[in-house]
C-alpha cells in the first residue's frame, strides 16, 4: 500500500511538471516550424510549390533568401519566442502577424518602387506559427483556463473565418463604394443603390418590369408560403397518417439533397417549355397555343417549390414528431374533438416550426441561383443579376457589388429573424422521459385536404425525376423517344487508343476535378465544423455569441455573393487565389462548414457534459478528452457531416460558377454550360450520373454507419480512437 502511494505521488507530481515541460517544448517546436516556414517553404506562390522549390525559381524562394529586405524582420518574433515567457510569446505572435499583413498590404505587385507577388505556402505556415505562439502565450496568462488547445483552436478558427468569410464581405462593401477606377465614390454608390433597376415599382401601375429587389422578395415570399404549406401537408401525411406510401414521401424528401439545383428547372423546360411534353399534348388535343409561360416567375416558383418543399417537410416533420402525444391525449380526455385538439393544441405547438420552415425556404429562394438562371427569362432576380453584371457584356463589378449587398442584407435579415424566432419560441417537448401515448388522428377534412395536395405533387415530383434520370437516354425528349446511349458516350466514354485505355468522354475532366476537390474539402470541412461546434458547445469564452454568429453567417450568405466576394477579395495580392483549385476548395469548406457545425452541435447536445467533466477530473486535458471521449461518441455525426459536405460540394453551382477556370472546371458548371447551348441530352445524362453517384455515396455510407452502430464494440476494438481525426 505504501509503495503504491509513493508511485501515485510520483505519478501525479510528474503529471503536473510534465505538463509544464510539455508546454515549453511546444513553444520551441512552433518556433522551429516558423523557421521552417521562413527558410525552407516557398514564400510566394501557391501552385505546385515543391516543383518550384526544387527548381529554385526566384519567386518561390523562402522568405529569408528572397533578397527582399522587408521580409527579414519576420525572423525577430521567432527569436523573441525562444525565451518562452508568456508576454514575449504573445508579443511575438501579434508582431509577426501584424508585420506580415502590413508589408503584404503596403507592398503590392505593381508600382514604381518595391513590388512582390502574392503570398504562398511559406506565408500561410508562418501565419499559423504566429497564431500558435500567441495562443501559448495567452493560455499561460490563464485564457480559457490555461488550455493551449482551446485557445489555439479558437484563434485558428476565428482567423480563418475572418479571412474567408469576413474579409470578402467587407470587400463587397468596399467595391460598392468605389467607382470603377478605384476611387471612393459615395454619390455613385447612392445612385447605383437606389436605381430604378433595383427598386422600381413600375409593374404595379401596368408599366414595365419591377425592380430586381422587389422581384426577388416577391418570389421568395411566394415560394416560402407555398413550400411551407406543402411541407406541412406532407409532414401531416407522413407523421400523422397510416397511409401506405409514407416511406415514398420520406425517400423523395432526400432527393433534393443529392440533386444539383438546376436540374429541376431543366426537367420543367422539357415538360412545359414551348416544345415540352405537356405543351405538345395540350396543343395537339386541346388546341391550347404554345407559350413561354414557364420562363419567368411561374417557372421559377414551380422549380423552387419542388426544390425546397422537402426542406420544409424535414423541419416540420421533426416539429410534429416532437409534439408530445400525451398533450393531445390530455386534450382528448378533456372532451376535445379531433378538430378542437388540432386547433387548440397541435397547431399552436407547431406554429414556431412553421415560421422557421417559412424563413428557411425564404432564404433558400433568395439565394437560389440555378433555377432562375434556367427559367428566369425576362424575370430577373438578384442572384442572377449579380452573375450577369460580372460575366455579361456590361462587366460592372461595382454594380455586382451593390446587388450583392442588397441580397446580403435580405438574407441576413431573414437569417437573424429565423434565429431570433427559433431561439425564443421552441416548444419542443423534450423532457428526457419516455413519452408514450398515441397522437390524435387528423380530422377527416384536413386529411382529405392534405391528400388532395400531396398526391398530385408527388406525381409531379416523380415525373420530374423520371425525366432527369431517363431523359438523357432518348434521342430527343418530347419528340423522338428512340433509346440511345449517344449522350452517355459523349460525356463518359472510355476508349482504347495508342497509349492504352483513356477517358475520352467530354465530361470526365470536370467530373474527376469535382470529385478530387470535393474529396479534399470534405475532411477539412468536417474537422473545422466539428471543432467550431465543440468550442461553441463545450467552452465558454468572451465574445462567444459573436463568434457563433460569424460562424453560422456563412450559411446565410448566398452562393453568388460568396462567388463575387471571392473574386473581389482574392484576385490580387497579398492573397491571390483566383484560377486555382485552392479557392474552389476554400469556397466548399466555408460554405458547408455550417453543416458540420450543426451536426456537431446537435450531437454534442446529446452528450452529457458530465462525461467531459469526469474526464477532466481524471487528469485528462481538453485535447485528450476530445480525442478519447468526445470524438469516438461523435463518430456518426462526423460521418454525417462528411457525407453532407461532400454531397453539397459536388452539387453546388452558385458560388463556384464564378471561381472555375479552364484548368479547374466542375461538373455542375459544365452541365449548366451544356444546357445553356441546348445540349439537353448531355446535361441530363451527366445530372443523372451525378445523382446516382451521390445516392450511392449516401446510401453506402449510411448502411456502413448503421452497421457500425450495431456492432459498436467490434468497431471500437478494431479502430483505436486516435485514427478518428
Amino acid at each position: 500500500m505504501e509503495r503504491r502511494s509513493e508511485e501515485r505521488a510520483a505519478l501525479t507530481g510528474s503529471g503536473v511538471i510534465g505538463a509544464q515541460q510539455q508546454e515549453a517544448g511546444l513553444s520551441r517546436a512552433w518556433v522551429a516550424f516558423g523557421v521552417f516556414a521562413l527558410a525552407v517553404l516557398p514564400w510566394y506562390g501557391l501552385e505546385t510549390p515543391m516543383a518550384s522549390v526544387l527548381g529554385w525559381r526566384a519567386e518561390a524562394a523562402p522568405a529569408l533568401f528572397q533578397g527582399r529586405s522587408w521580409l527579414l524582420p519576420l525572423g525577430i518574433p521567432l527569436v523573441m519566442a525562444l525565451t518562452g515567457r508568456p508576454g514575449f510569446l504573445m508579443a511575438a505572435g501579434v508582431c509577426g502577424l501584424a508585420w506580415m499583413l502590413g508589408e503584404g498590404v503596403v507592398i503590392g505587385p505593381r508600382g514604381a518602387g518595391l513590388t512582390q507577388p502574392a503570398m504562398g505556402w511559406g506565408a500561410a505556415a508562418y501565419a499559423l506559427c504566429c497564431a500558435a505562439l500567441a495562443s501559448i502565450g495567452l493560455a499561460r496568462r490563464g485564457w480559457c483556463r490555461g488550455d493551449v488547445f482551446v485557445v489555439g483552436s479558437l484563434l485558428t478558427v476565428l482567423g480563418l473565418i475572418l479571412l474567408f468569410v469576413g474579409y470578402p464581405v467587407v470587400r463587397i462593401l468596399k467595391s460598392a463604394f468605389e467607382s470603377n477606377d478605384g476611387g471612393f465614390a459615395p454619390a455613385l454608390f447612392a445612385q447605383k443603390f437606389f436605381s430604378a433597376g433595383i427598386w422600381g415599382l413600375d409593374c404595379l401601375d401596368g408599366g414595365k418590369a419591377c425592380g430586381v429587389a422587389w422581384n426577388t422578395l416577391a418570389e421568395a415570399m411566394l415560394v416560402g408560403v407555398l413550400a411551407t404549406g406543402l411541407g406541412l401537408a406532407f409532414a401531416l401525411v407522413a407523421v400523422r397518417t397510416q397511409l401506405p406510401f409514407r416511406p415514398l414521401v420520406r425517400l423523395l424528401s432526400l432527393l433534393p439533397v443529392i440533386t444539383p439545383p438546376f436540374v429541376i428547372g431543366l426537367a420543367l423546360i422539357l415538360l412545359f417549355g414551348r416544345v415540352g411534353v405537356v405543351t405538345n399534348f395540350l396543343g395537339e388535343y386541346f388546341g391550347i397555343p404554345r407559350t413561354r409561360w414557364i420562363y419567368g416567375m411561374a417557372g421559377i416558383t414551380i422549380a423552387q417549390v419542388l426544390a425546397f418543399t422537402p426542406i420544409a417537410f424535414l423541419v416540420l416533420s421533426g416539429v410534429l414528431a416532437a409534439v408530445s402525444p400525451s398533450l393531445e391525449e390530455a386534450a382528448q380526455t378533456l372532451r376535445a374533438g379531433r378538430w378542437h385538439v388540432f386547433r387548440t393544441v397541435t397547431w399552436p405547438l407547431i406554429r414556431p416550426g412553421l415560421a422557421n420552415a417559412f424563413l428557411i425556404s425564404f432564404i433558400e429562394s433568395l439565394a437560389d441561383f440555378a433555377n432562375p438562371l434556367m427559367l428566369g427569362g425576362n424575370f430577373n432576380v438578384l442572384a442572377t443579376d449579380i452573375f450577369f453584371a460580372v460575366v455579361g457584356a456590361a462587366h460592372d463589378q461595382g454594380r455586382a457589388a451593390v446587388l450583392a449587398l442588397v441580397l446580403l442584407v435580405f438574407t441576413l435579415t431573414a437569417f437573424l429573424a429565423q434565429r431570433a424566432w427559433t431561439g425564443s419560441r421552441s416548444y419542443a417537448t423534450v423532457t428526457g422521459k419516455g413519452d408514450s401515448g398515441l397522437s390524435a388522428p387528423l380530422p377527416k377534412a384536413l386529411r382529405l385536404a392534405c391528400l388532395s395536395v400531396v398526391l398530385p405533387w408527388l406525381v409531379l415530383t416523380i415525373v420530374v425525376y423520371a425525366i432527369i434520370l431517363g431523359g438523357g437516354f432518348v434521342v430527343t425528349f418530347g419528340r423522338d423517344y428512340t433509346p440511345t446511349l449517344h449522350y452517355l458516350l459523349t460525356a463518359f466514354s472510355i476508349d482504347h487508343g495508342v497509349g492504352g485505355w483513356f477517358l475520352s468522354g467530354s465530361g470526365w475532366r470536370s467530373f474527376i476535378t469535382t470529385m478530387e476537390l470535393a474529396a479534399i474539402a470534405t475532411p477539412v470541412t468536417a474537422a473545422l465544423g466539428l471543432l467550431t461546434a465543440y468550442l461553441l458547445n463545450r467552452q465558454s469564452f468572451a465574445g462567444k455569441s459573436t463568434f457563433e454568429f460569424l460562424a453560422m453567417m456563412s450559411f446565410a450568405i448566398p452562393g453568388t455573393v460568396i462567388g463575387i466576394s471571392y473574386i473581389l477579395a482574392f484576385n490580387v495580392p497579398p492573397v491571390e487565389l483566383t484560377g486555382t483549385g485552392v479557392i474552389i476548395i476554400i469556397s466548399f469548406v466555408f460554405r458547408n462548414m455550417p453543416v458540420g457545425i450543426r451536426a456537431g452541435m446537435a450531437s454534442l447536445a446529446q452528450i452529457d457534459r458530465s462525461l467531459d467533466e469526469a474526464s477532466m477530473t481524471l487528469r485528462a486535458r481538453s485535447f485528450r478528452t476530445l480525442r478519447l471521449v468526445i470524438l469516438p461518441i461523435l463518430r456518426p455525426a462526423i460521418i454525417t457531416a462528411m457525407v453532407y459536405s461532400f454531397v453539397r460540394a459536388v452539387t453546388t453551382v452558385s458560388a463556384v460558377i464564378f471561381l472555375v477556370s479552364g484548368e479547374y472546371n466542375l461538373s455542375t458548371v459544365y452541365i449548366v454550360g451544356r444546357a445553356d447551348v441546348g445540349e439537353y441530352g448531355v446535361a441530363l445524362v451527366y445530372s443523372a450520373v451525378l445523382i446516382v453517384v451521390m445516392a450511392a455515396v449516401l446510401v453506402g455510407i449510411s448502411t456502413l454507419v448503421g452497421r457500425q452502430q450495431i456492432g459498436r464494440r467490434g468497431m471500437l476494438g478494431a479502430a483505436p480512437a486516435s485514427e478518428m481525426v
Binding site: 477532466m616 477530473t617 464494440r713
Partner: protein, 351 residues
C-alpha cells in the same frame, strides 16, 4: 485534529449578477467525510465543483493538501469525482473506464489495468471488466464510477448526489457501502446531497448551506439537537415552527408562552421577545392528561406509526405530529390534548 485536506478561504462564485457561492470559508480534515447539505439552488453543487476545478472562483482562495489550487484546472488538481449521472464513458469497457485516469496521467497500459482491476475487485466488480456500462445495472454502474475515482487515490474524493439515480431500497445499502469504503481506505470525501437523512447517516460533519452561504457547520448530532436557527430546524428533522413569546431565560432554559400555555424549554441563543419554538413531530405526545387543547385535522396510517395534522386552539397553522400508537387511531375532527417532550423542543432564533 488531523491534517487539513481542503481549505476554502472567503471563496465567492458569481455568474453575472447572480452570486451562487457567497464568501464561504471552511476547512476539511484528512480522512473525514463531510457533507454539503441544502435545498436545491443553495450553492452546494457549485461549491463541490469549485473543489473539483470544474468551476473557478470569482474571488477567494482554495487549497487542497496545503497547495493553492485556485487557478488550476480540474486535470491538474489531485481530486476525483463521482457524478450524479455516473458519467461513465459509454464507448469504453468497465476496465477502460476504471483505468482512464491512470492512462491519462501517463501510466503504461499494463500497470494501469492491473491497478484498475484491483479497485474493481475491491468494489465487487471482478468479472465485469469487459462489459460496457450499458450492460450493467444502475448500482453496478455507480460502483464502476466509484472505482474509477478511487483508482487515482486522490487527496479528495467528491460525490455529487450519488444516490439520486438509485431506487429507494438500494439507497440505504449503497450509502452504507460508501461510508465503510471511506473509513476502510481513510479517504477524504466531500459529499453533496439534499437529503437530510442521508447526510445524517453518512457524515462526520455536515455543512448546511442556504442561498450561497453556510447556515451551520457541525456534527450531525449538533445540527439535529442544536439547530442554529429556524431554517436548520426546519430543514433537518422537519420541525414544526410555532410563534411564541420569550419571557425570560435562565441558563440553558427559557420560559415561553404559546397560546395560553407557559412552557419551560431549552433555548438556542434566542433573546427576549417574539421567537419561534421548534417542535420535532415525535416530541409531541398526543392524548396527554394535561397540556394544550387541539383538534385533529388529518390522519394518515403509515404502518409503523400514525401521522396527524392537528391545530392547537388559538393558533392558525396546523402542526405535524407522529404517534407510534397505531392501535388507537384518532379520527379527523376529534379533540386531543397535546404535551411536549423536553428533548426535541427548543426555542430557536429566526434565520
Amino acid at each position: 485534529m488531523g491534517e487539513t485536506a481542503v481549505t476554502f478561504n472567503r471563496v465567492v462564485k458569481r455568474y453575472g449578477a447572480f452570486t451562487a457561492v457567497d464568501d464561504i470559508s471552511f476547512t476539511i480534515e484528512k480522512g473525514t467525510l463531510v457533507t454539503l447539505l441544502g435545498p436545491s439552488g443553495c450553492g452546494k453543487t457549485t461549491t463541490l465543483r469549485l473543489v473539483a476545478g470544474l468551476e473557478h472562483a470569482t474571488a477567494g482562495r482554495i487549497e487542497i493538501g496545503g497547495r493553492d489550487v485556485t487557478a488550476l484546472s480540474a486535470a491538474e488538481r489531485d481530486v476525483s469525482m463521482v457524478f450524479q449521472s455516473y458519467a461513465l464513458f459509454p464507448h469504453m469497457s468497465v476496465l477502460e473506464n476504471a483505468a482512464y485516469g491512470l492512462r491519462a496521467s501517463g501510466m503504461k497500459r499494463g500497470q494501469a489495468e492491473a491497478m484498475a482491476r484491483e479497485k474493481l475487485a475491491l468494489l465487487g466488480l471482478a468479472g465485469f471488466e469487459s462489459r460496457l456500462p450499458s450492460e450493467l445495472s444502475g448500482g453496478q454502474q455507480q460502483r464502476v464510477a466509484v472505482a474509477r475515482a478511487i483508482v487515482l487515490e486522490p487527496k479528495v474524493l467528491l460525490f455529487d448526489e450519488p444516490l439520486s439515480n438509485l431506487d429507494a431500497k438500494l439507497r440505504r445499502h449503497v450509502r452504507e457501502e460508501i461510508r465503510s469504503l471511506q473509513q476502510e481506505l481513510g479517504l477524504t470525501v466531500i459529499y453533496v446531497t439534499h437529503d437530510q437523512q442521508e447526510a445524517l447517516a453518512v457524515s462526520d460533519r455536515i455543512i448546511v448551506m442556504q442561498s450561497g452561504r453556510i447556515a451551520q457547520d457541525g456534527a450531525p448530532r449538533d445540527l439535529y439537537e442544536r439547530p442554529a436557527n429556524r431554517f436548520i430546524a426546519d430543514f433537518i428533522g422537519d420541525a414544526n415552527l410555532l410563534p411564541v413569546t420569550l419571557r425570560r431565560t435562565a441558563g440553558a432554559m427559557a420560559e415561553v408562552t404559546l397560546g395560553g400555555l407557559t412552557l419551560v424549554v431549552p433555548h438556542l441563543g434566542a433573546v427576549d421577545g417574539p421567537a419561534e419554538l421548534a417542535v420535532r413531530p415525535q416530541a409531541v405526545r398526543i392524548g396527554a392528561a394535561e397540556g394544550v387543547e387541539a383538534t385533529v385535522v388529518k390522519a394518515a396510517y403509515l404502518g409503523s406509526h400514525m401521522e396527524y395534522d392537528v391545530t392547537i386552539h388559538g393558533l392558525d397553522a396546523p402542526i405535524f405530529v407522529m404517534d407510534t400508537d397505531v392501535a388507537h387511531p384518532r379520527a379527523p375532527g376529534s379533540r386531543a390534548i397535546l404535551a411536549f417532550e423536553l428533548t426535541g423542543v427548543a426555542v430557536v432564533p429566526p434565520a
